[in-house]
Amino acid sequence: MGPLAVDLLGKTLKNPIMNASGTLGYGIEIEPLWNINTMGAYVTKGLSEKPHHGNKTPRVWEERYGMINSIGLQNVGVDYFFSHYFPFFEERKLPVMVNFFGFSEDEYISCARKIPSHDLIVALEMNLSCPNIKKGGISFGKDAPAVHAIVRAVREATAIPLIAKLTPEVNNIVEIARAAYEGGADGLTLINTMPAATIDTKNRNMPLKGGLSGPILKPIALRAVYECYKEIPIPIIGTGGIMNVEDALAFFMAGARAIEIGTATFVDPFTMPKIIAGLNSWLKENDCASITAITGITHD
């Protein structure tokens, strides 16, 4: 293993670069451009117990320095993913983090139970930004007791390490992170997209409400990583607006064990391999033996 290798929840990843869920399709789509084995691990599109068709268009809208999306969690369902797409990762021996969601506690639990233990599965990444249908559509992730309860329920349903992916739309993200940790989460992904809307002034309407992503989100994500690293003793995966090596370094220095690249791939599909190569060069130039030497260095 090289200088970019990191330990994540008992597994060694050859580098700490992953995609953010839903920004690299089912993985196979990137293969015409670069070998998916370049990355440390692949994060699945958000999977649910049953398939979801998603929203009508428009689903995406550009903003200055970012974009808004409302895909509506379209996915083939967890069973189909494992029968049709997972063999692609098995052939390549690429570690996988399985992102999943539900619209009720029962759906989270039954989805988590369907995900098999496998050497290549690093963790389950639990999307906590979903609306809870039984609680009038309030997101699971906005309230500390609710986060504690849902994480605990899923924790009891599976033996696979569990990562909670948190929404930034909360009063105090450290409090939410603590609730996830105390509920049994083994790690945190910080952060999901930020709720946002766009207005079309020409047509005087609001074409799209959805999640804001892209470089506009980076400082918000960095603060979440920085604050949670100080307080919560579990690994953090940082994500939000990472466009280049400089951004990636900032997340590691703030305390991220690994990072996820999302919207940047749409702007430049080679962002991930470029960041991996760039981090290797940076470590050499800075006489740094390992990326772990700078993890959380801003807190020293």
Partner: protein
């Protein structure tokens, strides 16, 4: 094979007001293009964040040509781009037209939709008849580079050819092709596609349509650009990956 290729703008000129022709010199040749495929172009402007999809108007070795209409901030910024400005071109992308080996090829284009069928017309040569709809006579200059193609034009203002929309004109002519095993290809605004479907519905003539949608990645990663199809299990297909060319009869319009 898909590639992300650096290039420079060689020419970016206005054809008529609101329509432009962009020529790019690429550092490497674009892979083999199937008519109906597109590229994702990084517009040389700091305010434009995502790439924009454009039909391939022409591609010869390292020269790529795009014809576009200014419709939003991306194309507006592109229309201001100067010669020598650097761009990135990802492509060729998507599922293009399937070229039939028999039958009469009837190609329908509405407005800038003509850019989306240019490669197809080149490929079909004399086998094709083009039915084109424009707002007025001046827009017919978008057709100046089409050679060897029989063109039937309709204008909404009646300034040239048939007075009315292209589907009305097409429906008047279609009878004479009915016995010639017609194959239809179309690219144009949603309203045109819907009218065409309504007209062809009783006979379900083979018809491939190229459709448009807002895109983020252009290569099937984000599921941002979907079209609703009649597939019951998985109705939303990606326009950038399973499209942009679909069978008209698979779409829910």
């Amino acid at each position: 094979m898909m590639d992300d290729i650096p290039g420079k703008i060689v020419e970016n000129s206005s054809i008529i007001s609101g329509y432009h022709r962009l020529t790019i010199r690429l550092e490497r040749p674009l892979g083999n293009v199937t008519p109906g495929q597109f590229v994702m172009l990084k517009v040389p402007d700091h305010e434009i964040f995502l790439r924009r999809p454009f039909s391939i108007y022409d591609a010869r070795l390292t020269t790529l040509t795009i014809m576009y209409r200014v419709v939003g901030k991306g194309t507006e910024a592109l229309s201001r781009a100067q010669k020598k400005a650097p761009v990135m071109v990802l492509g060729p992308l998507g599922h293009g037209f399937t070229i039939p080996d028999k039958g009469a090829c009837l190609v329908i284009a509405g407005g800038i939709g003509v850019a989306g069928v240019r490669m197809l017309l080149k490929n079909l040569g004399k086998k094709a008849t083009l039915f084109v709809g424009m707002n007025g006579k001046s827009e017919l200059s978008l057709l100046s580079e089409l050679k060897d193609v029989e063109v039937m034009a309709a204008t909404l203002d009646g300034s040239h050819g048939f007075h009315g929309n292209v589907i009305s004109m097409f429906s008047e002519h279609f009878a004479s092709y009915r016995m010639k095993d017609p194959r239809i290809f179309a690219c144009g605004p949603q309203g045109m596609i819907v009218s065409l479907k309504r007209f062809l519905e009783p006979e379900k003539v083979p018809c491939q349509v190229s459709i448009e949608e807002r895109m983020a990645c252009g290569m099937g990663l984000c599921f941002g650009c979907v079209a609703e199809t009649k597939d019951k299990i998985n109705p939303f297909k990606r326009v950038c990956k399973e499209g942009p060319v679909f069978s008209l009869w698979d779409l829910s319009l």
